[in-house]
Amino acid sequence: MQLRTRIALTFSILLTVALGTALAVVSLATQDIKERTVAHEVGNFGTAFQALLEANRRELTEAAHSVTDDFAVKQQIAVRDSATLASTLDNSVCRIARANLSTGAAPYPPCEAALAQSRIDGVLSVLTTLNGTVMASYGSALEPGQPFPHLAEILASKQPQSAFIVENGRLYQIVIVDVRSPLRVAWLIMGFELGAKTIAELRKNSLLDVTLRTVMPDGRTQVRSTLPDGAGRTQRPAVYPIALSGSATMELSPTGMLLEEATKPFDELRNQLAWLAVLSLLATAAAGFWLARNITKPLENLTRAVAHIRAGRYDTEVTVERHDELGTLAEGLQLMQAEVHDRDQRIRRLAYQDAVTGLMNRTAFVECVTAALADRRGPVAVVLFNLQRFRRINEHLGYEVGDAVLRQVAERLTGAPGREDGGVVAVARLGADEFAAMTALGSAADAERWGMRLLGRLSDPVVVDAQPIDISATAGAAVAPTDSEDAEQLLVCADLALQSARGEKRSFALYRASLKPATRDQLSLLGELTQAIARDELKLHFQPQIELATGRVAGAEVLMRWQHPQRGLLGPLAFIPFAEQTGFIRRLTQWVLDHAIAQAADWYRRGVSLPIAVNISADDLADMQLDLRVAAALQQHGLPPNLLTLEVTESGFIDNPARALKMLETLATLGVRLSIDDFGTGYSSLSHLARMPVDEVKIDRSFVIGLEADAEFATVVRSAIEMGHNLGLKVVAEGIETETSAQRLRAMHCDIAQGYLYAQPMPGAAIEQWLRDPRRIPLAVAPIPTPAQMPTSTATATLLRSRSSR
C-alpha cells in the first residue's frame, strides 16, 4: 500500500473510531437519560399517586367518622335498623359526592348526578358487625345479613386504614372505621373506586399512561387504561407496576411525548454529531490525503533523484523547497550527490587516467575504443607506439627526465591533427614506454599514412632542460572492423603489428592476418619451445653464401627450423620474435651455437672447412656470459674460431652501446668473425660502426629486393657497399633471388651473396651433399690450422681460464 493511502486511511480510521465512540457515548447517554427521565416521572407519579391516596384516605376517614360518630347511627345499630342505616350511608355518600363536585357543576344536584359529576368514580360504603355480617351497604350488592367477604383481609392487611379491595367487579381504595357505643360494636368500610376518572386524572398530571389490571374473583382480568387503543399499546416497552393489592396492579407506561421530551435534546445532539462525524471524516480524509501527498510527493521526487544518482547521473536537481525534515533530506541528498560526483570523478581519474601524462590509461582507452566501435560510423584505427630507448633515458637521466619525456610525447600525440584530418580522437599511455592513439578514418587504407604521420611527430628529439634527447618510436596499427571488432582484440592486433615491426627492424607495421595464428598460439608457445628443445624438434638449416667475384662457396648462414608436431616446419619468424620478447632467445642461441659448432667441427674434422654464420640477438649481446659460452663451445667441439661468424644486429647496440662494443671486442680476441646484420635498417651511428671490431656487414634483404626496381635503393646499396669497403669490411648481400640482382651487386663490388638464387637453406646432410656436387666451385677457405697449432684456440683457452678464475 502506498504511504499516501496508508496515512490517509490511518487518519480516517482513528477519526472514525473517535467519532463512533462519541456517538456511542451519546447514544448510551440518550438511553440513560431516557430511562432516568422516565424513572423520574415514575417517581413523580408515585408521589402524586400517594398524595391522592392520602387525600382519599382522609376524606374517606372523615366521611366514615361522620357516620360512626353519629349517636343516631349507634342507636340504629343497637336496634339493627338496616333500612335506616342504609339511608344513612346513602346520605353520607351524597355528602362526599357533593364535596367532590367538579367545577361548573350545578350547585346542589341530586345525589346520583352529583356523583356522576364529581371526580369520584364510585363510592363503597358497608357497615358490618364485628364478625363481618353486613348491616347496611352502599355501592354494593351485599344485602344485610350477608357476610362481608373482605373484612378479615382488610383487618389482616398492614395498613387497614388504606387498603385496596375488589368488590362487585370494582377496585376500591378503602378505609375502615369502627363504631363504638362506647365499646366497638360495628365496622364501617368506606372506599373510593379507582376507575376511569381516577386514572384519567392521574394521566392528566403526568406523562405516563396508566393501566389498571384487576383480577376478578372469577379469574377474569379487567383492564382499564389511559393508553390509546391500537398498535401503540404494544410498543410501550417500559412498564412500571405498582401492586395495589393481591389482585390489582397499576402499570405505568411512558407516553411517547414523555420519551420525545426526554430525549429530544439528545437526539438533536446525536444528529448533529452524526453530521459532524460525516463532515469531519471527509475533511480528515482530504487533509490526510493532502498531508500524505505533501510528504510523499517530495519523497517520490527524492526517490527519483536517488534512482538518477544510482544510474550515475549526477546532474539531477533535487528540488524540495521545504524547511522541514524532507527539505533537510533533499539538501543532504543534493550535497551527497555533489560529493559522490566528486569522488566518482576522482576515482574515475585514478581508474582511467595516467598519473604522469594525464592521458587515458589502458582501461579508459579500451572503453573509448569500445564506444567508438559501437558507433559504427566507419573504420577506426588504433596505433600503438613504443619508445625504443626509454629505459635508457630513465636509467641515465633519471625518472624526472623520463617523466618529462613522457609528458612531451603525450603533448605531441595529443596535438596531432584533428578529426577532420582523419586525426587523433583519443590518446592513451598504456605502459611504461607504450602509447596508443585512436582515430576514425575515412577508409582503412588511410591507416598507414596516419600512423606514419603520428610517428613523424615523434622523430624530433625531445628537449628537457635545454638538453635534446633522442627518442625513436616503433608503431603498430590495426584497423576496425577489418582486423577486429573488439577493442581489446584490436589492441592485441596493433601490438602484434608493433612486435612485427620491431621484429622486422622497421619503425611501423600494419597488422596483417598472417600475424594472427601466432597470436593464437602465443600462450602455449613458450611451453612448446621448451619442449621443442627437449624433444629435439629444432633443426638447423644452412644457407650457402657465395663469393660474387669467383662464385666459390664462402660459407653458410645457420638458420633455425622448428619441426612442430602439429604445424609442421616453422620458419624463424614464427617463433624467434616471440623468443626475443620472452628472453627465451638466449636458450635458443645457446642451442644453435652448440649444434652449429658441433656440426661445423664435425665437417672440419672430415675435411670440409665450411665457415658458418650464427645469428646473435641483441639480448644475447647483453649477456655477459656470451663470450664464455662461445669460447666453451669452440673448445668443446674443437672448431677453429675463424670458421665461426657471429651476426649481430644493430639493435644490439642501442641499449648499451659501450657494453656491446666491449663484448664484441672480447669475442674478436677469440678469433671469431663478426658481422653486422641487417645493415642499413638500424640507427647506429657510423662512428660506432667504425670502432667495432667487425669483419663484415650484411645489407638488409629489403634493400636487395628493391634493388631491381628502384634506382634509389641501388644508390643506397652502393653507398652501403662502398662504406663497408671503406671501413675495411667485407659486404654480404642477402635475399638474392635473381641473376639481375646478383650481377648488379657484383657490379657494385659486393663481396658475398646469399639467396634463393644460389641455394635455399638446407639441413646439414643436404648441404654436405650439395657441397659434394662437382658443379660447385670449390670452397675458398683459408688453410686450416690444426687445433693444437691455432693461436686463437690458445686465446680461447686463456679466456676460459681467466674468466673461470674470477
Binding site: 360518630d69 349517636f71 342507636q75 343497637a78 364485628l130 357505643s181 362506647p182 365499646l183 360494636v185
Partner: protein, 208 residues
C-alpha cells in the same frame, strides 16, 4: 391441712352433720391474672345450682368525675337501682345499648341524682354520647353471692353448704367461666386464674 391428717370417713361424717345443720361455711375465692398477679377489681359471682334467688333492691351509685365514670366496674343484684350523679362542671349524657338495660339519660349537669333500675341480669355497658372515652360496666346478677374483688384479688363468701358455680370476669384482664363449686360446712378456698386473649371481647365473654 387438717383434713390431710384426718381419716376420710371422719371428714365425710362431719360434712354430713354440717349440711344437716345448714350452717354457712366460709369460702375464700382468690383470683389471679394470667401472669399471676392479684386480679384487683375482678367480679366474682357464685350461683347456687338449684336455688332461685329472689331479686334484690339494692342501690348503687355510678358517679361521673373528670369525664370518667366512677366506678367503672360495678356489680349489682338484679332489680337494683343505680344513681348517676354528675360531679363534673360540664354536661354528660349516659346511655346503654346493652340488651340487659337500654336507656339514655339526657344531657345533664350537676347532681341531679338521675337513676335507673337494672331489672334484667346481664352485662350493661355505659357510655357518654359526647365523651367517647367514657366507659363503665355494670354487671347485673341474680345471685346474692357476688363481689368486686379488692386490690388483694381475693374475697370471702359465707355460703351454706350446697352446690354452686363460680365465675370471674374483668373487662381488661379476662374471664373464668362458670365452674362447679361444692360448699360444705368447713371453710374452703377457691383459686381462679383469669384467661384472656388478644381479641378478648369483654361483653361477649361475660360468663353469666
Amino acid at each position: 391441712m387438717r383434713s390431710s391428717r384426718t381419716p376420710a370417713w371422719t371428714l365425710a361424717l362431719l360434712g354430713a352433720l354440717a349440711c344437716n345443720e345448714a350452717r354457712a361455711a366460709h369460702v375464700t375465692v382468690e383470683v389471679k391474672t394470667a401472669n399471676g398477679t392479684a386480679a384487683a377489681a375482678a367480679i366474682v359471682v357464685i350461683d347456687a345450682v338449684d336455688a332461685s334467688a329472689a331479686p334484690g333492691h339494692d342501690k348503687a351509685v355510678v358517679d361521673q368525675v373528670n369525664k370518667q365514670f366512677d366506678p367503672q366496674i360495678n356489680v349489682v343484684r338484679t332489680g337494683s337501682t343505680i344513681v348517676f350523679p354528675n360531679h363534673d362542671q360540664i354536661h354528660h349524657q349516659v346511655y346503654s345499648f346493652s340488651d340487659a338495660k337500654r336507656f339514655e339519660l339526657d344531657l345533664h349537669a350537676g347532681s341531679r341524682n338521675a337513676s335507673e333500675v337494672f331489672d334484667k341480669p346481664g352485662l350493661v355497658v355505659l357510655g357518654c354520647n359526647i365523651h367517647d372515652r367514657m366507659l363503665a360496666f355494670v354487671a347485673v346478677v341474680d345471685s346474692p353471692y357476688f363481689m368486686k374483688l379488692p386490690a388483694t384479688g381475693s374475697g370471702e363468701f359465707d355460703l351454706p353448704p350446697g352446690h354452686y358455680t363460680v365465675s370471674a370476669w374483668h373487662p381488661d384482664l379476662g374471664v373464668v367461666a362458670k365452674q362447679p363449686l361444692t360448699v360444705e360446712s368447713q371453710d374452703s378456698r377457691v383459686s381462679l386464674t383469669l384467661r384472656t386473649s388478644a381479641d378478648f371481647d369483654p361483653v361477649a365473654a361475660w360468663p353469666e
